[in-house]
Symmetry: C2
Subunit: 677 residues, 2 copies
């Protein structure tokens, strides 16, 4: 059974990898850009679309506001990029928002950031994959009904790839990201040039009118402001993932900070250009898009309109000549690919952050273990499960999922920028050099401005999105924060309970051991257990049976006597046909001559070799063990009897790298303390 | 956690019961009849309906054939009742079909019968509950869409009731069964009298025409015969449960056989009367029924007809004056109730048969244990799960489920009657008295005729129902038979492997014990394990740690040295970050001076008190244990360390009946062997 499971695992994730194979390969700027930037750059694929979607509820008239919203988003993007450049220089060791907030604002702020980021990684996977699927469906509309299946399939694929452990993934990332950037720039350039030449591209939805939703017919004052703010909140998805570079400064070639900052700047420039270009082109080509395709068609109730193509797809078709042109397919393929790669960055980030949190004992320690392919397997599986669940629950709808997004991003932005302000304050206090002081002051004001801006956006997002689903993200983050605190409290309590001090370091040898051998039937395993019990030289030895069935117990006692076994057999009455309770009470009642006495309970256990044999043998032994563990001063001894079916299996071969230490030999590379008793 | 589970269990099934409370109360004929007869009598509720349904595919013209089919079923019922009277006299100890077939035809036949009966019990539950729900829905059509939920709910209710253990259930059974019989007789009597008086009751569906199904328009020859045979197969459901009395002869008051035979006769009489009466009344009242309500309505494609009422409901409405008359509600209530009670008989029969099979080691031994309410809990749960699954899979449709039924019944009938023929042959061989020989010969011919008739029906059922679902029942029975043989083979092999003979009875004491203490961290539980290991006086003692993380291992070794712990610490290299494999290989590699040497592996284990703490502590210990159990000559010793959260719980009070033996005292009622070492 174990071998079968092993086989499946090897087929799925590949051979086990040795710990030494975990080596950092330093990245050049050219390779680092696509690795870190696929997430922020890919958000161009949905940011514009979500702005237009929100504005469309008020009808066609208000679509032109999209340009102002886009300009604001671009400004915000510049501010955030500038802010993170400060982080990159201040924390060349790789200052993730969690570390920056923890170090400067304390544990609570750090935990809030960590929880927000964990939620956010999940949303990155969900939104990116959903948007990727949308772009595939735009190219192949027949796939529409398999959307959820496709999305969940992509998440499973990403989990599988990451469980295998992605080494050298930079090269894999570089091509699609650069292709995507290239495709976007060419598309925007061509489209806008054609517009200047008076031959503006026309989107397929250009001729369709959009009726305002009921209640949004004649917007004025506050309602209009709220609508624009909601569009702005949605557009802020363009900023997700900007902080990725600041986490990975260590991965750059030296001068690390300088290179990282330069990459950040280039990324910001590309992101701004692409976002502005796509938005402009969408307005020029008159892309009319709405969440409700019937409203677009101007149809009445009962309408069953064909779902719309994505903004990118409409633009590509308009610029490159229709839905069957090579250019269209190329853009869609590059877009879908880069979105899936963006989801993949979360598959790197989430398990890493979870493992850091586990090392700080805020999460279960299993998340800190690298699997045998050197990946943080448990974190990857957790992320994939939650993201797939969300995609399934929200029918892989980008518009629905996006309300849960960004909140986490901006919480992390705001708190880490605020932390940076503190950081510079501290620096300023210990700094005398006026030139440095001036640089610190400038950095501080940049970060302060960033904190204020992102904080403002955070409030806007909260207000405009809360009832539309953001409350779920808030709840998840709050829950995670509380949970992480509780876990840390538990580990701390256990740690101080179990700590070894110099005073308690010497082992205490129990004074007396009594041995109790559990007898269910008079069979060879029982006799072996009796023999083992003798061998530990107990001060008192007795066999015990629980009389679940009177007849059987009587027969057992008779055979026991007939065979002349020279260990006394005690029969425990069990009127309620339980086994555990009478046994636990018997063990508790055994006379002790001091606190240091120990009772050793011997349980003969069958070991079966085939999985279907498991239900054929009473699982009482396991249950008894877990109950006996609660009795103070007890050790539970399993005496295995391997049924013959377990004996035929040959010993399993062990994968060994050359030079590995064999078996029990002390490892020469690690200290080995010689026996000196 | 354990206490919470315990609390839920007690709330659901009640207090634990002492073994002595299992006492047989002997039954009078008046009480025995409803207990054993609710299954065969209740089948009246669907047998007639299924005959009419099958015939309806050929259109209205062929419905009159139902009377001939019914007459044949009645004759068969008489034959089967007569046959089982012989069984009752021949096996006064309670000759279930399984025992009769095993004793006379050998183990294979017995197993086939047992498998058929197990499948059949499942089908009894499914069909009876589905029909009961149909009759409820007939009274309250609004419940139609909750049919499956209702059915599964009833199964859960029955399982719950039976897990509580039904004592004195005779009284509970008597009232609804007699009410049902009374209601049926009054309904048939009134209806037929009105018919004689020229005022025949008219069913609600009387005026509807039924169009023949395509291909059945002008039936002749073989096709007609097949149709009638299919109707007959469906009608044979009236015979299910007839054998119940022969299983329960021991429950009757003396003279047991005489009383049982009399009850059987009365039951047969009532069943024949009711079945004949209902069928006659259905023909008189012109109940037109079909599986496809649209066909009844004569409507074209796209029809969405309201589902039809059951035959019983239509008759009750016709006789007692409409769908809102008290008589109608009374008949429906009695019918639904008796059908649920019929399902309950399977909840008695299945676990009992399973426990007998488990005692004979054909099924896992868990099925032989009585739960703490004295019921065979595992059997009850298994039956409920499978029956609920079937109801869900077949949408609680009687018509679909019924194809899987009867096959098992008639397999059991045929084989047990054939077994009876052998039984009488054997009796005749040893009998000289001519009067007795004559009686045996008569009995033999009755059973032989019964075997031939039921065998013939078995073939008919197989041929006419196989493709409609009966193949599933055949497959399940074959699978069960194969499985039971395999289980027995396994238990036999294990039994002979573990048997203790006089020669091997003396315990062999291992010559040397080496102790290995597993160290993950240097904490108090580790020190306790070291102390316990010392106390067993091993010939060799070493501490072992697996270097999953190089840094941590190095730190551990340094602390170990700093604290001056006087046990050598061996570090095992683990390039693939596994714990189990290096440890298992180390233990295997330890030098042994003889086959009788033993390695004892000490594993310090945390015991947590709250369920949510479980995932917070590495479950490695459990995994290690199960891997080490496969190493020969090993005993695995768990040294529990109860985390403080487990210490606050007070000791659990024990329910005790007066006079019970306390704790470790030897039970005076059972032999206790004094210590004589």
């Amino acid at each position: 059974m174990i071998r079968l499971g092993e086989l499946f695992k090897r087929l799925a994730v590949g051979r086990a990898l040795r710990s030494e194979q975990l080596r950092e390969t330093l990245l050049s700027k050219r390779v680092a850009l696509p690795i870190f930037a696929s997430d922020p750059l890919s958000s161009v694929a949905y940011a514009t679309q979500e702005i237009l979607l929100v504005l469309s509820v008020a009808g066609l008239v208000y679509l032109h506001l999209a340009s102002w919203v886009a300009v604001t988003v671009v400004c915000l993007l510049v501010v955030v990029v500038l802010s993170y450049r400060q982080v990159v220089f201040a924390y060349p060791g790789g200052g993730g928002s969690y570390e920056v907030a923890s170090a400067n604002l304390g544990r609570s702020a750090g935990l809030v950031v960590a929880a927000s980021l964990l939620v956010d990684y999940v949303m990155t996977v969900a939104v990116s994959v959903a948007s990727g699927v949308d772009n595939i469906v735009s190219a192949f509309p027949a796939l529409h009904e398999y959307r959820v299946g496709l999305a969940v399939g992509f998440v499973a694929l990403l989990a599988g790839v990451n469980l295998r452990g992605v080494r050298e993934s930079g090269r894999v990332f570089a091509v699609p990201t650069y292709l995507f950037v290239g495709a976007m720039l060419v598309m925007c350039g061509t489209g806008l040039l054609r517009w200047l030449a008076g031959d503006a591209p026309v989107a397929e939805s250009a001729s369709a009118g959009i009726r305002p939703e009921p209640g949004y017919e004649h917007l004025t004052g506050l309602a209009l402001v709220l609508l624009v703010l909601r569009a702005f909140s949605s557009g802020c998805t363009a900023l997700t993932g900007v902080e990725a570079i600041s986490n990975g400064v260590q991965a750059f070639r030296p001068p690390k900070s300088r290179n990282a900052a330069a990459t950040l700047a280039v990324m910001g420039l590309i992101a701004v250009t692409m976002f502005a270009g796509v938005t402009a082109l969408a307005l020029v080509a008159r892309v009319h898009i709405t969440a409700d395709a019937c409203r677009l068609a101007g149809a009445g109730p009962g309408c069953e309109a064909v779902p719309q193509r994505t903004v990118i797809a409409q633009l590509a078709a308009a610029v490159f000549g229709g839905h069957h042109s090579p250019g269209f397919y190329f853009v869609q393929a590059a877009t879908a690919l880069v979105l899936v790669l963006a989801a993949n960055t979360a598959f790197n980030g989430f398990p890493l952050l979870a493992s850091i949190l586990a090392r700080h004992r805020f999460l279960p320690e299993q998340l800190h273990n690298r699997g045998d392919r050197l990946a943080f397997s448990n974190g990857i599986l957790a992320l994939a499960a939650v993201a797939a669940g969300l995609l399934w629950a929200f029918h892989a709808s980008v518009t629905d999922l996006i309300h849960l997004y960004i909140l986490g991003v901006f919480t992390a932005f705001t708190l880490s920028q605020a932390g940076m302000v503190r950081h510079w304050n501290r620096k300023l206090r210990g700094e005398a050099d006026p030139a440095r002081r001036r640089r610190h002051r400038i950095a501080r004001s940049i970060n302060a401005f960033g904190a204020v801006c992102t904080g403002l956006v955070l409030v806007i997002v909260l207000v405009t999105k809360f009832t539309e689903g953001a409350y779920l993200a808030v709840a998840a983050a709050v829950l995670l924060t509380v949970l992480m605190r509780a876990i840390r409290r538990h580990y701390d309590a256990v740690g101080s309970e179990l700590a070894v001090t110099d005073a308690t370091a010497q082992t205490v040898v129990p004074s007396r051991i009594s041995a109790v051998v559990l007898v269910a039937r008079l069979q060879t395993p029982t006799l072996r257990a009796l023999g083992y019990a003798r061998a530990i030289h107990p001060s008192h030895l007795t066999a015990v049976t629980v009389a679940v069935d009177r007849e059987e117990s009587r027969a057992l006692v008779e055979r026991w006597d007939a065979l002349g076994i020279d260990v006394p057999l005690t029969v425990l009455d069990s009127p309620y046909r339980e086994v555990a309770r009478p046994l636990v009470e018997y063990v508790r009642s055994l006379p002790r001559h001091g606190a240091r006495d120990v009772v050793s309970v011997f349980i003969p256990e069958y070991v079966v070799g085939r999985w279907w044999e498991i239900p054929l043998h009473n699982r009482t032994a396991l249950w008894l063990r877990s109950r006996l563990m609660f009795v103070p001063g007890v050790m539970v001894i399993s005496v295995p009897w391997r049924l013959s079916s377990t004996r035929v299996r040959p010993p399993r071969p062990t994968p060994r790298a050359p030079g590995a230490v064999r078996r029990g030999e002390p490892d020469p590379r690690i200290h080995h303390r010689p026996a000196d008793r």
